[in-house]
Symmetry: D2
Subunit: 111 residues, 4 copies
């Protein structure tokens, strides 16, 4: 699997199979999954807590990879549980953001 040859549905199926094999969907209410996403996001953020931008913080790349995967795995689970097409949702949001932040006004600035 690599990003160039893996579609979102394959990742959704991979995650769904893991959950189903363990009969874990009973725990996976949307509310609980949204909590899981936030918890994993905090664990990811913790890796960068003392990073001062100089590169001295010595953040282990492998840990970033694992924690980022955890966040996205729970996002895929929530998309599975709620029947959301993630690709379409992302495309729609990027279009909406492009209208909200027109290039000529937001070039190099956030506000």
């Amino acid at each position: 699997m690599s990003d160039a040859n893996t579609n979102i549905q394959q990742l959704k199926d991979l995650v769904a199979a893991f959950v189903e094999e363990r009969r874990w969907s009973q725990f996976h209410s949307p509310k609980n999954l949204s909590m899981s996403i936030a918890i994993e996001a905090a664990e990811l953020m913790e890796l960068f807590q003392w990073d001062d931008g100089t590169g001295n913080a010595d953040i282990p790349r492998e840990r970033v990879r694992e924690e980022l995967a955890d966040v996205v795995i729970y996002c895929l689970s929530l998309a599975n549980a709620t029947g959301i097409d993630l690709s379409k949702a992302i495309q729609d949001k990027v279009v909406a953001n492009a209208q909200k932040y027109p290039v000529d006004r937001y070039l190099g600035r956030y506000k």
Copy 2:
């Protein structure tokens, strides 16, 4: 775009183009992106704050779709910024989780 015919690289490219057009990569240190992921995860979670599992909370599906998209958009940005192949990272993590939580011991239970 739909999950069945969109690969991760296409979504990564979509997000990268949006960032580059606005010259926003200067703000997108891994540390800042990890904060963005956590902030968007909290906004997603907020939708389920008062959900009691009875379906009475009346959560707007469109809002869930938008906030979930926001979380994944920042995850794709962090993967772009750090050169992480997300599909491979997810696959590796699911394999690791499968070893950590063997089916025979964790069937229907978390601990």
Copy 3:
């Protein structure tokens, strides 16, 4: 120390002394402290992740106590770093909330 005989300034001083003894204020920018608060909040929330309201989740009270303390310790540090009088800020916010959520309209309901 107990809640009935401890004022906020004493807790602020306790936390400030701990930080100063270790010369840690150099790491305690408001930005980093806000991240610490969010990270500790997620650790606290994790204890309740699988709580279904039936009391079966068997949440260790001692762990709740520790994680809640961690959140408030970082809140006190941020108040120290920014010169915020927390008691006054809380009082002002409760007054503002009382105006936003008048009793006659919000009795037993959030919206």
Copy 4:
């Protein structure tokens, strides 16, 4: 009210009265309150999202004050709901941290 003359119990009582007047304790399960703390912590953190340490981010002090108050208000509610003496919990945690991070080894360094 000011930090020098307000004890924790007074703040707990202030928050408890607000909740009781609105009959909101029915929504305030420890799980929900832990979510509220995390959500408010993210809103606080969002204020510092683009702060680069140069002071250019122009963060409105009043907003920091409000969001920090929100976090602590929910912490006080959780302490109320679970019967935790917060002052004692904080004191115990600072003592535990002092043993975990002895001054001679952690002077000016986190690890």
